[in-house]
Amino acid sequence: MSDLSGFQDRLDIHGAELAAWPEEERRAAEALLARSAEARALLDRARHLDGLLSALPVREAGPDLRARIAAIPARSPRRQAARRRRFVFPWPLARWQMHFGGGAAMAASVLLGLYVGAAGLVPPLQDEVAQEATEMASLPYEVAFELEEIR
């Protein structure tokens, strides 16, 4: 704890309850408090602000809101889109897909397209290949988006 300004920052970050501070910072703070009346005044002010912030009243959710939320299942049949989009990857591909998501799938699609094009494997169906590649590339983005929200 180099100075009062640093002490103030630590108070703002960790709060005024020194017992909750990381051990090393707490010991430094206690040493500063033992020799500095200004530091003790900062601690008092921080305790006061923490107390105000903790005590700010908020209303509980009212009965109308509870009723509206409770009615969600009756009013909102479960969407089927997520189920349709779900695609179960075989195990190591699933881990790979979770980590790299749509970007990797897009890259794989591009590489596959280049390979197919360069090898001249499917010359007469270029439009269909392009359409399918686009759909395949967009699928993992949607799945990845849902995973990101759910995780």
Binding site: D9, D12, I13, H14, G15, R45, L49, L52, L53, S54, A55, L56, P57, V58, R59, E60, A61, G62, L65, R66, R68, I69, A70, I72, P73, A74, S76, R78, R79, A82, R83, R86, E146, L147, E149, I150, R151
Partner: protein, 184 residues
Amino acid sequence: MPLFFRDDADDRLLARIAEGDEAAFRTLMDRHLDRAFGLAQRILGSRSDAEDVVQDAFLKVWDRAESWRPGEAKFSTWLWRVVTNRCLDLHRRPRHEALEAVPEPQDPAEDVVSSIAAGQEERRLKAAMADLPERQRAALALIYETGLSNAQAAEVLGISVGALEQLLVRAKRSLRGRLQEETE
């Protein structure tokens, strides 16, 4: 890897919700609604906006329960993230009149004079909070309303712990400044 341990009770409820169990949905709502609403209210300062955000979050719970992956995250933390993101997405300035409408706490032990002084200070704090940038207000709300640690709050906001700490420092500095100005 999420920082939080899963809550088995919530995971079990979500599994039942995924099967269409409406009673499980209501139980999950009872477990988390007040805190979710409190969080939204602290960030937005508006009761009606907070209601919209929380209702939308629970609609998402119902819609997406099938996609829940038990053991990968704690449901409450996911819910705080959804609520916080929805609040930040609103991009609205808080409504001072709504903040003023929040009832004052009653403390029968205090005498009338100190009670009035405490009420005035609380109103000043609410007004000062209403003028904070939303992300600073969200950081304070996550710490003081939901009781998350700094690391947990940072994960909910999708920022580093250092960035969260900067939000807290700036927010409290602003609040101290405002409270000091108004007492002089």
